[in-house]
Symmetry: D2
Subunit: 291 residues, 4 copies
């Protein structure tokens, strides 16, 4: 699949770096890439404080033959990374992330991801769909994606099954597309910063259950949705994206739910797209998004 700006994905790499800020990082990294013949295509950086803060860098580059030479590039970059105490990774645009989508009964978020994938707007593979209900199995079938029904009554058993399925399918990232089960802290810990949830409110407002009813009861003039990484602390993980929609006194809780579905699927799709393009870096309980 050709990506934005028509590049051939085969040679496209992304270098992600987080380290303590100090002079020379950009000079060193860009010199390293230049010396190997790479052409920097996009580069974004951020520092929480140029004097002693945390530094974040995302460099997207073209390097002929990268697929073959990636391991060598990584090996050569390692000493530089050590010198600057970097957390880092190199990813290849030619190796799309593999997603598992967890669902319950509501289909709109799932459907949006399937569409965007089909339209070529979500550069990832949807490896499988897993539901604690079987209701959405036909949707999966219609799109030719494997569906696993994993009832959630026995959480320990369910998570063991899920882990097996995920491993078998080589999944990188889990998307909770209105998945109404709570994952255990150990499960969440194993998938740290690799589970994206959509919460149907503008967090931190209306965390917990039935946010549209809460919003209705409070009489807010905007409703929202929040995509975030899942942590052990429910609805409190690092926020990736949020958006809102204007409402007024005329909407019933049902109307809010209906309007909210539009925001939920848009916000989730945006967050997943940024994640799979390695545009999201986590810093404590916050994100840096190089959108």
């Amino acid at each position: 699949m050709p990506g934005r700006n028509g590049e051939s994905r085969g040679n496209r790499g992304r270098l992600l770096v987080t380290c303590p800020d100090r002079p020379g990082i950009v000079a060193t990294v860009s010199q390293f890439l230049f010396a190997r013949g790479a052409n920097i295509v996009h580069s974004d950086q951020h520092s929480t404080d140029p004097f002693g803060g945390q530094f974040f860098l995302r460099v997207e580059f073209e390097l002929p033959g990268l697929v073959a030479s990636a391991a060598e590039v990584e090996r050569d970059f390692a000493p530089i990374a050590d010198r600057y105490a970097m957390q880092w990774r190199l990813t290849l645009a030619s190796v799309p992330k593999r997603l598992a989508i967890f669902v319950s009964k509501e289909r709109h978020c799932l459907q949006e991801l399937l569409w965007q994938r089909q339209a070529g707007d979500l550069p990832a593979e949807i490896a499988l769909i897993a539901g604690n209900h079987a209701l959405l199995a036909p949707v999966a079938a219609a799109w030719g994606v494997p569906f696993h029904h994993v009832p959630g009554d026995d959480r320990v058993a369910a998570e063991a099954t899920q882990e097996e399925i995920l491993r078998a399918a080589g999944v990188d990232t889990i998307v909770l597309a209105r998945y109404m089960q709570i994952l255990s802290p150990p499960f969440v810990a194993r998938w740290q910063h690799r589970i994206i949830n959509i919460h149907h409110s503008f967090l931190p407002a209306f965390a917990g259950a039935k946010p549209y009813h809460q919003a209705y009861a409070r009489g807010v003039k905007l409703i929202g949705a929040t995509a975030h990484y899942v942590t052990a602390d429910l609805d409190a993980g690092p926020i990736i994206e949020q958006d809102v929609q204007r409402v007024d006194h005329r909407q019933s809780p049902d109307d809010l739910r209906r309007l909210g579905r539009q925001i939920e699927r848009t916000v989730l799709a945006r967050a997943v797209a940024w994640h799979v393009e390695d545009r999201v870096l986590v810093h404590g309980n916050k994100t840096v998004v190089f959108a």
Copy 2:
């Protein structure tokens, strides 16, 4: 001052009605106005439930000679109102509401209201400005509006002084334009649904102190502001208007404060304009806004 659509304000009335919903209300009210020779210019209605809910009506009409005949119109409408158990009021567009603006040290919300008043966009009189600090006295002076410095250390004394000032100036409505003192429950009760506050967050998120710091710490992707009627329960009164602004990882708390100033003044000005045009009806802890 000529209003929207160029009407002459002298003959323009607004009838505001809240009552239990049942058939015939609109027919009766519109018949009443028609029989007196009034021309309905705008009419908005809302029912929380057409079968046994609460009904809200705002009718704006032109009636030649209304200024002289208003008392008579009210007298004649009273039996109708009784029959339907209406809470109601008739207001005249030719009698603008008189505002007191309470301030502390920040000037942006005050300035926005003064400017919109001057531009003819806020159909109200700004009767006075009262500050618990004297810092903004020169702003008041520059615009020719009386300024009262009422230090807040002794709240009982301060509120007694404020009440006196408000009474002397014939004030209808108090606007808290980033006023950083808490008003006592008795004071709030006396001015029920007539004190408008601007809170610098998207409530109910980040109620309480330092909302921009809270927003920064949580890493939200949108910041907001909320205009609401003041109740004894801090930051929990009926919301009149809210809006948000997109932010990202690059903004410091200071940046959020700076960006937030723009939303705060816009949201507050909108809420005040709706209030002074009798477009806001309160229902429990929520509002019906006929904007």
Copy 3:
């Protein structure tokens, strides 16, 4: 299908009125409905000028037994309508409009309408899909909607075929969901105010072909979409709804097209929903939307 606010649709009627504004219209109409035992559920009105302008009214009401008595209600209302020189119609919520969706090769707008229909968010029947290409036939098949392939090379023949198909299926309204053929003036005239098109720009900017390329070339900072009724004058019909999306220098024309797809489908779906709920009244080349 139960509608908003849980009403039973069987008894729900909508009265749409356009006439010269003069006193007494609301009193007369509401008295007429009250006398028959109807309960007004929503009422919206607008006047271009309360003194001699055009008046627009949409009343939604509950009247037990309406399905059986609708013809009688219409007969009784006719003299009132005559007296005020009204253009008017009575529609029943229990009789959903029947849509034909015309498509070419792009699927996103079609898919959004199908999905919203399934989710219960679009209260209409999708009677058929007609394409000048056969490409989207499988989408129609997957959703169980009849698909007609009507090649457009010979416009006269094509429109004759289309008219036949539309008549056979009892279609009320045609939606051009990125349909890339131009309809003849006679066809458009026959379906006046009953063909909705989505144009992929913020009209009147970038009318005509390739609006995203035009937007890219001009360097705008927002792109948009416009849903409008089709008239003989291309891209110039009455606008029903518009929305925009922020872009910047980084987006290629392809990126604009990709981002634009999201706005196009949202704007079109909103416009179609308003149309099928009789919320759109046309006035010259403009619309009054009681959303």
Copy 4:
């Protein structure tokens, strides 16, 4: 004045570069800065096409003693710039741009800029205000800014006077804050990319006179404003920023003008702030904005 993130402005420099894209630019520039002891604080780059496109770079850096050494830095950078065929400039945050604001009779845009300057949100000096009418002289006086009344009847004479005034005050940038005179092509050419205009529509829609009347006549559902650099071709210069506001059938042309004032001043203030912080680079008839 301390800037964002609390840096001391004395040592803060901005390097702006435009050149044909080819590998090694970032490596070379960042190496140059690193070697001199500079700490890169922000860095933004863009390429219209990584293979043979145009490359844009904005680097903000801290370099102790920069005020004293700036000339030396420039001298040393010149050979690098030559090698890459760069158009470039080095600016010091400690030397704020000097603005002239041209006005006619409407005050809202002028007032917004004066406020934002006072609030510390516009890091520039407002050197003078010039009006073809004298109406806003008192506003200038109230804020202590020199006002020049330059009647526009004789354009040649007026522009000669304006040039003199601008030179005397050391002005860098002219802001047309609803200035209703047309500047001559030679004047515009002398101030290329240094005159910012606010047009009260979402360009390219409704270029020319009376855009709110045009918008009303067309029945658009959003109105907008556009800040752009002035070129000889009226309303067709490079767009810096745009925004819109939702409207509906209820707004008269006067209402649109009133609502539009809010967008106009917001959009203009944003564009001016970006310009004075050297965040806007012009590329043909488009802009790259590193906001």
